[in-house]
Amino acid sequence: MKLEEIRQKIDKIDRELLVLLQERMGLALRSRKFKRAVSDPTREEEVLSRIERLNLDLIERSFTRRLIRTIIEESKRLQEENRPLVAFQGEHGAYGEVASRRLIPNGAYIPCLEFIDVFRGVEENHFDLGVVPVENSLEGAVTQVNDLLTTTDLKVIGEAKVTVKHCLLSTEDTDHREIRLVYSHPQALAQCRGFLMRNKLEARPFYDTAGAAKMLARENPRAAAAIASELCAELYDLEIIKEGIEDGPANNTRFLLLSRQPYANGGEKTSVIFATPHEAGRLFAVLRLFAEANINLTRIASMPLRSDPENYCFFLDFEGSEQDEKIAGVLQQMEKLTISLKRLGSYPAASGIY
């Protein structure tokens, strides 16, 4: 091996160490929710002695102890900070994390495998807040999330619109002329099809956009690149070859911020889910309430009821707060016209598209 190659490998290992350390810190923060106090000397001793049992010829036991001790001290410091734990679906760098960072700038962002893990985790107080996508300007409703909203007790306390700006990312030592394969989520690959064709690149589906970026950084496969967010380039130390490589007009995704407690200060927007009896004119009667009260609707969507496939429930977002007298009145009348009415809450409206 040449010196240059050895150094490249060292750089790669450093990157991996940090990615793993980030994951460990996230877990340490999550463990705080289960512990009475930050410090737990018995557990610390257990961690240290278990690691010392490993017999590695190049790594002195005293060094291991010092290293792990430093890591433990840092995770205790992080736990003391009491940052809100914000859960999102996907790997670090997913568009859900982009939204989380906008909504809660000082949070600790915790990746979850599935949307249901975000919902259950917040419900069970393992996380403080959750961020989930409800709709995309090109693809429409995110049905899994909408379905979970119908059954959860969580409240919506905020929203954010995030522009989906796909970037072609590669590791630093990959020449653009060598790139043949591009890994990403099938939806992202489909949105960038023209770009891939023009540059004769082969699309390789991956479970997640950020997951593809993470894989690229950790494994550095030959002749490969990934399509993911700009944030991924930052988090995984990848080069942006080009940003905004999607074919169509920029699309954006609307995310909701979920909490166990409702938003305390009124808000400007309200979300509800309701179902009406299967009779002529019932939906119209509900919507008429809003028209007559001169309340502007910002979203209306229908979804089949899982519990009752012949019937539908409706998602309604509108301007104003539940605390406004006019809206409280409409909601009261709505109770009489519907078979179910779920108030997701009122919250500040997204001020722009990020």
Binding site: H176, R177, R198, I241, K242
Partner: protein, 271 residues
């Protein structure tokens, strides 16, 4: 010149290459900017300066063909990203050189016009590739080439289905050493007689002397050129490439005050 099935003057009206609001072949097109893209600061500041002085498009090299392999070779994709940013800041379309057939599709993702440099004029595989890239091509004249050889190279691009070729006279090698090359100004009216394609001149590389840039640009406009492509560097003495031959933004602004009025005057004269 029977081989010029598409480039020859015979049938066609004069070609106008439309790039955004700029019509090369109808109005006087002024393309200005640094020789090579060296940093964001060194590119975006002059881009703003040339825009406010009245330039129509921004030039800047990310992939540089250099006489010596040890000279600065350009920032590559990083340079293209800087040009992209300069376009977003100023709205000026981007002209940039491509030197490797493997880079054509990538450069086309960023650039509005693909430039073929004098050394690559007869790089036929590169010409075919840019002919298929879906972007207008600025084809510089080879420093040892005849007009016929040059037009045959344009024919290569046209025959791939790309009708948008802009010719650029950039000086030829003669025995004169005071100037870097000799600007063949007669090429402008001669090209008019031979082809429908627009022709611009490069007063920077042809003279290699900032003091000659303005007189030769004015002469080119008087001779009927469709535009100029000129190097403007923020601090010419610090340039990593072709130092000392670029105009300062102030000198460029001064030249522009005379260039467009001259074109207007020429347009008003009866044919």
């Amino acid at each position: 010149m029977k081989s010029l099935k598409l480039a020859a003057r015979a049938k066609a009206r004069k070609t106008v290459v439309q790039i955004g609001d700029v019509g090369i072949g109808s109005n006087l097109a002024v393309i200005a900017g640094p020789c090579s893209v060296e940093s964001e600061e060194q590119t975006i500041e002059p881009a703003r300066a040339v825009k406010s002085a009245g330039a129509d498009m921004l030039r800047g090299g990310a992939f540089k063909p250099r006489t010596s392999p040890y000279s600065f070779q350009g920032l590559g994709i990083g340079g293209l990203r800087i040009l992209d940013k300069a376009r977003q800041e100023t709205g000026l379309p981007i002209v940039t050189e491509v030197i490797d057939p493997r880079d054509v599709s990538w450069v086309a993702e960023f650039a509005d016009v693909l430039q073929i440099g004098t050394r690559n004029m007869q790089n036929f595989s590169l010409l075919k590739e840019v002919g298929r890239a879906g972007r207008p091509v600025l084809l510089k004249r080879g420093m040892y080439s005849t007009l016929e050889e040059w037009l045959n190279c344009a024919e290569y691009v046209l025959s791939e289905g790309n009708p948008n070729v802009i010719l650029c006279e950039r000086g030829i090698r003669t025995f004169e050493t005071y100037t870097r090359n000799t600007l063949d100004l007669s090429a402008v009216p001669a090209i008019r007689e031979l082809t429908h394609l627009p022709i611009i001149i490069d007063p920077t590389h042809s003279t290699g002397r900032p003091s000659l840039i303005e007189p030769m640009s004015l002469a080119a406009v008087a001779a009927g050129a469709d535009g100029i492509i000129v190097e403007v560097h923020w601090r010419p003495e610090e340039a990593l490439c072709d130092a000392d031959q670029a105009l300062t933004p102030a000198a460029f602004a001064g030249m522009m005050k005379r260039l467009r009025p001259l074109r207007t005057f020429m347009d008003q004269q009866p044919a």
